[in-house]
């Protein structure tokens, strides 16, 4: 006779060990999530802080019928793709170089970790000073090289990409660390076989390194994609969403709704849309990864 799962001692021990962690997760993640979900379908604002009455999808409709929402969504997609691509390409190049380096490796890693260890707010403030168009160092360097001064954050066509470059500067080290760990763990045998077969370095990279690194790279990409979709600190400090709406990404849009518009309910609705997009991307990414395996 087969016993029910809960009667099994091992099953119960497993759950007993997992319970504290699951309970903590339920409290620190589950509760705020459920509360935010409730707010998003309520009439709660900062001026009327009560959860009643239930208004259904009204807040979602209000948010999604705002043309600024779609503009912010498109900017977020563009920004996320560019930053993740930039971080991945630069990160992979640095990781490959570090993989071949023998001496002073810990020093390189320590230096690379510095931007990652800094808070995005500090990073934004430092870059804001460096890029100050009239008194900042960046333009003074440009001028000394005979190049024209650039309006890094005040030009509507350039501001988003300046922000993306700052983000890439800070986040690339995270990608480097993950990819470097992945490269270090790759087996040597396929390379030795490829060398015997006369494969060039480029062929080895394309046919051996990249395919074997794919699971680790996928993790790095998905973590960064989630991070970039949630970007908030940089536009808040650097541009406040401007000039115009040229740097108003979705998380900043949600913040504006919640705290400037005093509509916590609409802010929560916008955040939930963001959450669903990120969740969808994550599922899609893992599904495609599993399918290729």
């Amino acid at each position: 006779m087969r016993l029910p799962a809960f009667a099994d001692r091992e099953w119960r021990t497993g759950w007993a060990f997992a319970a504290p962690g699951l309970l903590t997760l339920a409290l620190v993640m589950g509760f705020p999530l459920v509360y935010a979900a409730l707010i998003s379908v309520s009439s709660l604002t900062l001026l009327k802080p009560m959860l009643q009455p239930f208004v259904g999808a009204k807040n979602f409709v209000a948010v999604m019928s705002d043309p600024l929402f779609w503009g912010a969504l498109w900017l977020t997609v563009k920004y996320s793709l560019v930053t993740v691509l930039g971080e991945f390409v630069i990160g992979l190049a640095i990781a490959l170089m570090l993989n071949r380096t023998v001496t002073m490796k810990p020093v390189y890693f320590a230096v690379l970790t510095i931007p990652m260890a800094m808070s995005p707010v500090s990073v934004a403030l430092i870059w804001r000073m460096l890029l100050q168009p009239n008194l900042g160092i960046a333009n003074q360097v440009m001028e000394s090289l005979g190049l024209p001064r650039v309006d890094w954050l005040g030009n509507a066509d350039l501001a988003l990409w300046t922000m993306a470059a700052i983000d890439i500067w800070q986040q690339t080290s995270f990608v480097v660390l993950i990819l470097a760990a992945g490269l270090a763990a790759l087996p040597r045998d396929p390379y030795e076989a490829a060398e015997v077969d006369g494969a060039t370095a480029l062929q080895q990279f394309w046919y051996i390194t990249l395919p074997m690194l794919r699971p680790v790279a996928a993790i790095a990409v998905i973590i960064q994609l989630i991070n970039e979709f949630r970007t908030y600190d940089l536009p808040y400090i650097l541009t406040k969403g401007g000039p115009g709406t040229s740097t108003e990404v979705l998380s900043f849009f949600a913040y504006r709704r919640a705290f400037l518009g005093l509509s916590l309910n609409e802010g929560a609705a916008a955040s939930f849309v963001l959450l669903l997009i990120v969740l969808g991307l994550t599922v899609l990414f893992f599904w495609s990864l599993e399918r290729k395996r």
């Binding site: 001026l47 802080p49 168009p133 009239n134 005040g154 541009t239 000039p243 400037l260 005093l262």
Partner: protein, 426 residues
Amino acid sequence: MQLKRSLISTLLGATMLAAAGPAFAEPVTLRALMEDVPETQIIEKLLPEFEKETGIKVEFEKIGYGDMHDKLVAQLVSPESYYNVLEVDFLWAGEFPAAGWLENLKPYVEKSGFDLKPIIPSMLDLLGATPDALPILPMYNYSMGLIYRTDLIGDAKVKADYKARTGKDLAVPATLADYVALSKYFKAAGGDVVGAAMQGQRGDPNSMEFSNYLFSAGGAYLDSGRKVVLNSPEGLAALKLYADNVQNGAQQGALSATLDDTMRLMCAGKAFSMVTYWWMLPQLDDAAKCPAVAGKLALSVMPGGHGESGGWGWGIPKNTSDESKAAAWKFIEWVQSQKISVARALEGHAPVRSDVYTDPAVLKKYPFYKTGLEVVASGKSFPIFAYSAQYEDVLGAQLSLAAGGQAKPEDALKAAADGLTQLLNK
């Protein structure tokens, strides 16, 4: 028996200590979130005097304006606010009382006998005072005017060049159009001095700055019946001139600049003028801080006759203890007294009491306080209602689009006026 006796005496001792609790209680510490501006530093210098007089400790947490609203709101909606005395901007004077976050200070005034008469009535109105309620007591004003370089406007070579280029005599501008033309002249002259240091970052910076242009051009946000009249010929003229000055008179990067950026630029001697708070003059006219421009600056009412009027006030949050509230009022009463207001004014404070503007010691040290009073008296206000902070953002986005050339001024102005109507009806 021995054990029983020890237990009883321990219990008795504990009960006595508990009963004597209030006598041994820590004195109240007042905590305020303050904007990191000279006014805060002026008060901070005087705090030891208050602490000595009352035994109440006061702690200021200084941050930039842009972060204040969110930080305060988070505390005001919590069960107990960490900040027990509040510095409240006039832009929140509709929102905070409407949300029920502030104590009515009227009973405190009546109980303590604090005299409200010397306080400039427009400052009380600006901060939402009514015959029945006083949610916020004025702290200092930040009406805006024009600060300009006297050395440049008085320079013979500049005068001759200006006459040659424009056919007009160089003078302090009398209208907004004259001001923008002058600003553009300085930038076009090609030296290292631009015409205007402008704070064009979307939100509070550009909304406040544009309001001066609007009032100077004869426009308004609302009429006397609170109907939106922003989208008017005067409003359009103001927006066109604002965009023109950002593009052709201001420093590079004006669309991302804040007050700090404009101050640094003016201080470095790289701008002819700035539309700013009138009390910035002593901060810039300081040989130790700004040697490039000290002694070369003057203040005037905004060309056109009216600038943006603003002010900060003190409030007491409802979600603090009664003991804290009493201590907070004691502090507010002290800091706004005539004696302390004069002491503050001698350090550069922008008074809200008319008796300070006429104080001989103040006028002797700062003769421009006479012009300061004119700036305050002629100032007009941004619309104050529950969603003022959101409206700054709505307006700021449209101003930024128009000034950056991404939207036509006509379209931006219409969107800004529609946004105001929608928020007023919300």
